[in-house]
């Protein structure tokens, strides 16, 4: 297995509170790896460290260039969808504007938001904004794509569309690492699930296997919380 992502013994403290207590994680091209865990389990922190936004106190990380899609998208509000996608190719990769634009249009088209290229972020729906954010992250061709809670603001139909998009991206040779609360989504679209609890990996493997025959108390608790959340909706 060609490992594109390899993490060993990742530790992080905030003050005297240990957020990450030694995390090991691997992901290979073509994989969609889902991090699951209760709030405060450290899953978003893992993504932020891999994206380079935070520094771990200890551990070993081999990470390719990563793109990231935030839970709240964080599109640049003063730029259109197309300009959001073109910004890094033009100013970081020094592509010509025409080149960047052609590629951005193609990406937005593939993600099903080609018709929204000239809309401003505030004019986009939640699902559209997310796709533009994915296109923006993909525009610089990162081998690893990180997605923080991509299903959080989507209705079930949109969620399935997203799942198909992610599977296609993985199929084209990228590594995808996402965090999610949604066990149905993870079961349907992830190739592997990693359960975090108390800053550690408590169990991981095939999503059907792990989620239907949970070995650990933490996993069962997580599924219980998620079931109640869904009933409450």
């Amino acid at each position: 297995m060609t490992t594109t992502l390899r993490v060993r013994g990742l530790r992080l403290w905030r003050g005297d509170r240990q957020i990450l207590a030694g995390i090991d994680l691997d992901a290979a091209p073509g994989e969609v790896v889902a991090l699951m865990g209760l709030s405060g389990s450290g899953k978003t922190t893992v993504l932020r460290i891999l994206a380079g936004l935070e520094r771990a106190d200890a551990g070993e990380i081999q990470v390719p260039k990563a793109g990231m899609v935030f839970q709240f998208h964080y599109l640049f509000e003063h730029l259109t969808a197309l300009e959001n996608v073109c910004l890094a190719p033009v100013h970081v990769q020094r592509q010509t504007r025409a080149q960047a634009q052609a590629r951005a249009e193609a990406l937005l088209g593939e993600l099903g938001v080609g018709h929204r290229a000239h809309a401003l972020p505030r004019e986009l729906s939640g699902g559209e904004a997310q796709r533009v954010a994915i296109a923006r992250a993909l525009a610089v061709d990162p081998p690893l794509l990180l997605l923080d809670e991509p299903t959080a603001s989507l209705d079930p139909a949109r969620r399935n569309d997203l799942g198909d998009v992610l599977k296609a991206l993985a199929a084209s040779g990228r590594t995808l690492l996402l965090t999610s609360h949604d066990d149905d989504f993870v079961r349907d679209f992830a190739s592997r699930v990693v359960i975090l609890a108390g800053g550690r990996v408590v169990e991981q493997g095939d999503p059907h296997q792990v989620l239907e025959h949970a070995q650990h108390e933490e996993t069962r608790e997580l599924l219980q919380v998620e079931r109640q959340r869904k009933l409450g909706r």
Partner: protein, 495 residues
């Protein structure tokens, strides 16, 4: 008990006549200083000066106690008309405009307008004609200022108006102006205060001090005239002026003329009805309109230049406070707090007069720098909060995309912050446009100052005030409109 009550009644009765004589409220400007009106250095609650003694003499003759009312020199006419005081005297000059707008007494002192120069220029500058291309200072709203305005056209000099009679002479010594034209009384006082100045004794013009009252108080004016004439006859005035070392050989001749004219009507001393003052203003308008318009242009140019300075500095201050190291941040925070926490008027004084020993900034530059430095503090706060209003998540997104910090600032943060800052910036610019009127204290004649000169000379604020307001609105309204349109175009969704 009954006896006590009777006694109380008796006391009350005897007290009534004393209460029935209200004090004679007399207005003057103690900032004008000795020998006119000045707070006694030994007891600042007490006023001294020849005008004080004349006012007290008049009050005594009227059988009323004298009560001093502090009124700014340039507001004496307006205050007289509003009834802030019964009579006003504070080296008030006789002029046809003044006689038309308030009740004016006979003249009680004759002064000469004289030229004061630096000792080294004694031979070079002897008359207004010698001062072509030079700056000549005086007190605003005076006869001397009118003479200088006329000389601007005739002799090609520049008139510089001050709000007090101290700074014209100190600026003369500093080289900011080349001559001062003022009353010989003020000139002599300045000569005592400063060394290195010389006054040419020849009179450029002759003027008189008078006492004013509200236009309808011609009865009081006539009483004052009678008391002044009696004081001229019995030597009371001479005694007072000699005491203050102001007696000159011009006075007996003046008194002889005033006493000879007794019984004939005082020249044009009728009350100025409101209609009269409006009509006068319309009549004077063509003469003042060009200077009002050029003052409006100056206000606009000064405001734009100061705002440009404030914006550029403000951007640097805000960037330093957001991105700088702790020391830079601390220094900039102190700057912002000091500039926002102290009056801009004080800052202007410090920059123009306070620093004159180190840098001698021309008035316009000092005004520009003063306003610019002050508003930079306010602008920087707008930019700082606008920069901080851009969601952190966008900055992280930019960082992950590989943009440098500078690129992030330039391409992501600043453009959004600018749009957020636009509305408060425009408000500040309109505020600056109005605050620019403060620079008149640095002898810059901008729109408000020019309006004040206009109003003082015609004796009414109504028409000049409305015109001035219209000019300010003509400058500020299009700006507000433009800002609203830009804001609509760039509307950023509030997160």
């Amino acid at each position: 008990m009954i006896r006590l009550a009777l006694l109380a009644l008796l006391l009350l009765c005897t007290a009534v006549p004393a209460v029935a004589q209200p004090p004679l409220r007399w207005g003057g400007d103690s900032e004008g200083g000795a020998p006119f009106v000045e707070a006694d250095p030994a007891d600042p609650a007490k006023m001294i000066g020849f005008d004080v003694e004349i006012a007290e003499h008049i009050a005594a003759e009227l059988g009323r106690p004298a009560q001093f009312v502090q009124i700014a020199y340039s507001s004496l006419d307006q205050s007289a008309r509003r009834g802030d005081f019964d009579i006003g005297l504070s080296g008030i000059e006789d002029s046809p405009g003044r006689r038309a707008s308030v009740a004016a007494s006979v003249p009680y002192y004759e002064f000469r307008e004289v030229i004061t120069v630096r000792e080294g220029d004694r031979e070079r500058f002897r008359s207004l004609a010698d001062l072509r291309g030079r700056r000549v200072a005086t007190l605003g709203g005076t006869m001397a200022y009118d003479i200088l305005l006329e000389a601007e056209g005739e002799h090609g000099l520049t008139a510089v108006s001050y709000d007090d009679d101290v700074h014209p002479y100190s600026d003369l010594l500093l080289g900011r102006v080349d001559a001062v034209l003022l009353d010989h009384v003020l000139a002599e006082r300045a000569m005592r205060r400063n060394t290195g100045l010389v006054t040419h004794p020849e009179a450029v013009a002759v003027g008189h001090y008078i006492i004013i009252a509200a236009p309808e108080r011609t009865d009081l004016r006539d009483q004052v005239d009678a008391i002044l004439r009696a004081a001229m006859r019995d030597g009371t005035l001479e005694r007072i002026f000699r005491k203050w070392d102001c007696w000159t050989e011009d006075q007996p001749a003046l008194y002889a003329r005033v006493l000879a004219a007794e019984g004939s009507d005082a020249p044009g001393a009728t009350g100025g009805a409101p209609l009269g003052s409006v009509a006068r203003a319309w009549e004077a308008l063509p003469r003042y309109l060009p200077s009002l318009l050029s003052a409006a242009v100056l206000t606009l140019v000064l405001s734009c230049a100061a705002m440009l300075l404030a914006v550029v500095l403000g951007v640097f201050i805000a960037t330093g406070r957001v991105y700088g190291d702790p020391l830079t941040r601390a220094v900039l925070t102190v700057y912002v707090e000091v500039m926002r926490g102290t009056p801009v008027l004080l800052q202007l004084f410090v920059i123009y007069y306070g620093l004159a020993g180190m840098v001698r900034l021309p008035a316009f530059i000092a005004a520009l720098v003063g306003l610019g430095l002050n508003y930079a503090a306010y602008e920087s706060e707008i930019y700082r909060s606008a920069l901080e209003a851009v969601p952190r998540g966008q900055l992280e997104a930019a960082r992950i995309l590989g943009l440098t910090r500078l690129q992030t600032l330039r391409l992501v943060r600043a453009p959004q912050a600018f749009r957020l800052a636009l509305a408060p910036m425009t408000n500040d610019f309109v505020a600056l446009l109005k605050d620019s009127s403060l620079v008149s204290v640095l002898t810059v004649v901008e729109l408000t100052k020019q309006t004040q000169i206009f109003a003082t000379n015609i004796g009414s604020w109504l028409v000049p005030g409305l015109l001035c307001a219209a000019l300010y609105l003509a400058m500020s309204l299009p700006l507000s409109h433009l800002a609203r349109r830009l804001e609509d175009r760039w509307k950023v969704a509030t997160p």
